[in-house]
């Protein structure tokens, strides 16, 4: 080989490396450009406005609606504490705290109830033949994609004073007076269990469907009883789906608005209704903003907790 060809080959090598680097850079740039419309829309109409909410939570409420542009931390204090009207001393804001507590309690109960009904349902679907499995799955998906409002309304029709259940009970003569079910915690919990159930069934189903039943056969082969097999083999293997389902049910429950609004009425408020109230009759936008952020923080804590539980589980299994 002559010097000349050596030189040109090293030059071409440099050029090749440069071209590759540039083409990779161009590729990443193109990918950002392609994502841009979606990012811009979401930033404008979902993520960005949250920043304004943070700002608003430090402003003074206006007399009628809106805000006055003076900085205050009073709103944040009023999220959990209450200033006495006469002597200015601080005490717990019982009205808020009881609503926080009701939201968390009802969300937990709903999550547990959806699990109690959801796990057997998911298991049932996953153990059907592949063909009929799709039909059962379809039957779960239909309510999932039907209007939340309509489904809540269906529950209302069932449990209101002149609703189907009370009519039936009076008709068979069990009671003379209608049993009050609307506008109670029971109504809200029942309604949320009903509307969020598919959100538990679907991820649990996805886990069970992946479950290798040879493992179950193995357990029985090694003298496990049905109960032991369920507890020691099936539940641990299905846990990721159960955790995903719990996230999908618990978190929307915390922020639920429509279902408690219709079934809980004005007395059984949940977090979402309390927030909405501040932008309606409450006319206290900064408090609404601060409450929104509080709800987001609680949701984040719950998410982190669930993720931690599931990753701890992964470590144990892996």
């Amino acid at each position: 080989m002559t010097m000349n060809s050596n030189l040109s080959s090293s030059e071409s090598a440099k050029k090749a490396a440069e071209v590759e680097r540039l083409s990779q850079k161009k590729d990443v740039r193109n990918r950002w450009l392609l994502s841009l419309p979606a990012l811009a829309i979401i930033f404008f109409a979902a993520a960005g406005p949250l920043l304004i909410v943070i700002l608003y939570s430090f402003l003074t409420p206006g007399d009628y609606t809106g805000v006055i542009w003076t900085f205050t931390t009073e709103t944040w204090i009023s999220v959990v504490l209450e200033r006495d009207f006469f002597d200015e001393t601080l005490g717990w804001a019982d009205a808020h705290l009881s609503i926080f507590w009701r939201s968390i309690r009802l969300s937990l109960i709903t999550t547990i109830l959806t699990a109690i009904f959801g796990i057997p349902t998911a298991y049932f679907i996953a153990t059907r033949s592949p063909k009929s499995r799709n039909i059962w799955l379809f039957l779960i998906t239909i309510p999932f994609w039907s209007n939340l409002l309509v489904r809540t309304y269906a529950i209302q029709e069932l449990i209101r004073n002149k609703g189907v259940i009370n009519n039936f009970l009076q008709w068979i003569g069990l009671t003379n007076e209608p049993i009050e079910m609307m506008f109670t915690d029971f109504a809200v919990g029942f309604g949320m269990t009903y509307v969020y159930l598919p959100l538990m069934v679907l991820p649990v189903y996805a886990s069970i469907e992946k479950l290798d039943f040879k493992l179950v056969e193995g357990a029985y082969d090694l003298y496990a009883s049905r109960w032991q097999c369920l507890r020691r083999i099936i539940v641990p293997l299905v846990r990721p789906g159960l955790i995903a389902g719990s996230i999908l049910v618990f978190i929307p429950c915390l922020g639920a608005y429509v279902t408690p609004q219709i079934l809980g009425g004005g007395n059984q408020l949940m977090f979402g209704n309390l927030i909405a109230l501040q932008f309606g009759q409450g006319k206290n936008w900064p408090l609404g903003a601060a409450l929104s952020l509080t709800l987001m923080v609680i949701v984040m804590i719950a998410l982190v907790y669930f993720v931690k539980v599931s990753s701890g589980e992964n470590k144990k299994n892996g």
């Binding site: 950002w32 450009l33 799709n134 269906a154 159930l197 929104s292």
Partner: protein, 272 residues
């Protein structure tokens, strides 16, 4: 459980006692209220308590109600527009974030796109209320654009997910083969990628459409005066007085969802 001879049955590996009964109970529980609702929509009586005889009268009443008509058309227009924009944006984003080794900022893109799924809807709703109030005061514009862009934003993740799934299950070598056979990148996209992911795009569009059509919370907070959508109209009705007309509207609503979800199901279940 009617079957009593538990011990005479052959041992079934997959069977767990009582699970089947709970599952069937759950299905009855899920569909019972919906079926009752539908049944009463065909009730000729104005009373919601007793079923008198079969009649379409409430559907006619609803159809002749101008407010319902207007809200229904607004909902359809909104869903169609938002789903179209969302699907186009989501398709582009899905193309950008799949089938590549991780690049700088890819996780960020993913997080932003899925952000509407992670924040409680009521929080987004009030944030939009506050933000759009500012714009409304500044510009004086109170048209449909607010609703359209708000719906587009939360529709994007729903459109994105099936398209992304479709892209990820698509064999990368097909496009390589296209390039090998003298197709330019644009031709490859047109002749190979697009036809291959088309079912995913349609599925994404349908999901986005249903999600937009069903939305109550964000519409309720974003709408300007006189911009009722069908769900916000229904919410208003439920707060005041309920007539079987509401059942009729709800039934039509369910029917639309069933049709769209069936289409979605057929598209995604079909062998890839």
């Amino acid at each position: 459980m009617a079957r009593s001879s538990l011990f005479n049955r052959p041992f079934e590996i997959k069977r767990i006692p009582s699970f089947q009964s709970i599952a069937l109970f759950t299905f009855v529980g899920l569909y019972g209220p919906i079926i009752i609702l539908i049944t009463y929509s065909f009730n000729s009586s104005a009373s919601l308590g007793v079923f008198e005889s079969f009649s379409f009268q409430w559907y006619i009443t609803a159809w002749e109600n101008e407010k319902v008509q207007e809200a229904a058309f607004r909902s359809l227009y909104l869903a169609a527009t938002a789903a179209t924009i969302a699907t186009i944006a989501a398709t582009m984003a899905a193309l950008a974030t799949t089938r590549t080794k991780k690049f700088r900022g890819m996780t960020l893109i993913f997080v932003i796109i899925n952000q509407p799924l992670m924040i409680p809807e009521i929080v987004t709703a009030v944030a939009l209320l506050v933000f759009f109030a500012m714009i409304k005061i500044a510009t004086g514009y109170t048209g449909m654009l607010y609703l359209i862009i708000a719906h587009t934003a939360f529709c994007i993740p729903f459109a994105y997910l099936p398209i992304r799934a479709r892209l990820e299950s698509m064999d990368l070598t097909l496009e390589t083969a296209g390039a090998d056979l003298y197709a330019t990148p644009w031709k490859t996209f047109q002749r190979i990628t697009l036809p291959m992911i088309w079912p995913g795009i349609i599925a994404g569009y349908m999901l986005a459409f249903v999600i937009s059509l069903d939305d109550v919370v964000i519409s309720e907070f974003v709408k300007s005066a006189g911009q009722e959508t069908l769900p916000t109209y229904m919410l208003g009705q439920l707060r005041r007085f309920i007539t079987p007309e509401t059942n009729a509207i709800a039934t039509v609503n369910i029917a639309v969802s069933v049709i769209l979800v069936s289409g979605f199901f057929l598209l995604t279940q079909r062998k890839k």
